[in-house]
């Protein structure tokens, strides 16, 4: 079996990378260890409407709910509202991640990509040290898949990067450990995605309520790994639900656990290999959202791979142009947000209450973490000292 490119993992990052590589003429195979693309879902399922700008999805089957905005609840219950009142302001969707992923895989297949399910990558193939593809296992049979480029789109627990000598090990401080119920028979017709912050809700993370319809919502929690104890995420989420009668009366139709990298993007290329998506830590460290970053990075990776195949250049120098392409916008934003994450982690609950109180009537120019940070800086110039490193990053 010989391909130009073998992609490990059929999540959004893998499918988009594969699709754009195939569109540029590369012969691409995706291998997926699970038996269904997109399942089990490991996601809060919220995404910005900016996804529409990328024009990577057709139809609306993947959309569960159209949101009016977001609300942030501080520890004392003060609400900061980010709404779509202003013209041109983009809000978000709550999606069905399984359908979302399947639609992206389908688009990749339409572009000529092959997909093998139940197929697990077990190691890289090397010839005199040079990466030549992956060893794969399907129904107990081990076989070689030769390829000029291996793409590790294998998520938070990425093994592909490790095999290539990239240090992908996350510090507990750079991991959010999560659980989520999809609760039905509840009341959640507010039109808002809600975020609850503060150490009583979640140390170093937040609780979210993302409505998928009028009576069904994803109710989840992320706890910072370094502040977590065994089973803590599950325990704190149950406590939150029990304290909210409108949620307590619901019944779960799904329970899941998840892990989200909230560090900075890591080095993502080697000769004949690149990482994309959660594997490359392309995630917003403040929100833990990775869908938009995966789409943006996957497109850049796929296009670079397309060129690499045309020019038969598979060295790190050539492949890393994909990371350079991301540097001015996506990476700048993720690095800036990492600095903000560090600052926010240092705030006591009473500081969070004070900040929320000062923003409760604020009119945000857009619904984003950046507009929130801008508002904070504007309202609290004294905090500027702490935010100074952030400003340096954002001017880069």
């Amino acid at each position: 079996m010989k391909y130009d490119v073998v992609v490990v993992g059929s999540g959004p990052a893998g499918s988009i990378t594969a699709r754009f590589a195939a569109k540029s003429g590369a012969k691409v195979l995706i291998i997926e260890r699970r038996q269904v693309v997109g399942e089990p879902v490991l996601c809060g399922e919220g995404i910005s409407k900016k996804v529409d700008d990328f024009k990577v999805l057709e139809g609306k089957r993947w959309i569960a709910n159209n949101m009016d905005g977001a609300r942030i609840f501080s520890p004392d219950g003060t609400v900061v509202k980010l709404t779509a009142e202003l013209a041109g302001s983009e809000t978000g969707y709550v999606v069905y991640r399984n359908i979302f992923d399947q639609e992206l895989a389908r688009e990749a297949i339409k572009a000529g990509v092959k997909l093998m399910l139940n197929t697990c990558a077990v190691d890289l193939i090397r010839d005199k040290g040079k990466i030549k593809g992956v060893k794969a296992k399907q129904f107990g049979d081990e076989f070689d898949i030769e390829a000029d480029i291996v793409v590790g789109a294998d998520g938070v627990e990425s093994r592909v990067g490790k095999w290539a000598g990239i240090n992908t090990t996350l510090k507990p401080h750079d991991l959010e450990t999560c659980v989520q119920y999809t609760l039905t028979n509840i009341e959640c017709d507010s039109g808002y995605c809600d975020f609850y912050i503060g150490k009583n809700y979640s140390p170093g993370g937040y609780v979210w309520v993302f409505p998928k319809g009028k009576d069904v919502a994803n109710v989840g929690i992320g706890v910072l790994g370094s502040l977590s104890e065994s089973g803590k995420a599950h325990e704190l989420l149950d406590r939150f639900i029990n304290a909210h009668p409108e949620l307590k009366k619901g019944e779960p139709i799904r329970f899941l656990a998840g892990a989200v990298p909230v560090g900075e993007p890591i080095e993502a290329t080697r000769d004949n290999l690149l990482l994309v998506g959660d594997a490359a830590r392309q995630v917003d460290p403040i929100t833990g959202g990775g869908l938009m970053a995966s789409i943006e990075a996957g497109k850049a990776a796929g296009e670079t791979i397309g060129k690499a195949v045309k020019e038969q250049r598979f060295d790190k120098g050539f492949l890393s142009s994909y990371e350079k392409k991301l540097e001015p916008e996506l990476y700048r934003k993720l690095k800036r947000n990492y600095v903000v994450k560090e600052i926010l982690l240092g705030f006591e609950d009473k500081t969070l209450n004070m900040l929320a109180d000062s923003l409760k009537d604020y009119k945000f120019d857009e619904i984003s973490t950046f507009s929130l940070v801008k508002a904070l800086v504007k309202k609290h110039p004294s905090l500027l000292i702490k935010l100074k490193p952030l400003m340096k990053v954002s001017r880069m």
């Binding site: 490991l42 093994r159 490790k162 090990t169 507990p172 790994g225 995420a233 329970f255 656990a257 998840g258």
Partner: protein, 63 residues
């Protein structure tokens, strides 16, 4: 005396992969869609135990 080793309970594990991403020894892998700790690789650091959101990883012998 040998240090205690971490062990993952297949019944409780929900396969989020968090433990694999933080293991400093690369001693955890997904085996048939559940986390599995390699006993020989485990250095008893307890990071995986602490970060497991559902408490599926424990010290061997502790129920």
């Amino acid at each position: 005396m040998e240090k205690p080793k971490a062990i993952a309970d297949r019944e409780t594990c929900l396969a989020c992969g968090g433990c694999i991403s933080v293991c400093p020894q690369d001693a955890i892998t997904m085996q048939s869609s559940k986390a599995s700790v390699d006993r020989d690789g485990c250095i008893s650091c307890a990071i995986c135990i602490k970060i497991c959101p559902v408490g599926a990883i424990k010290w061997e012998g502790c129920q």
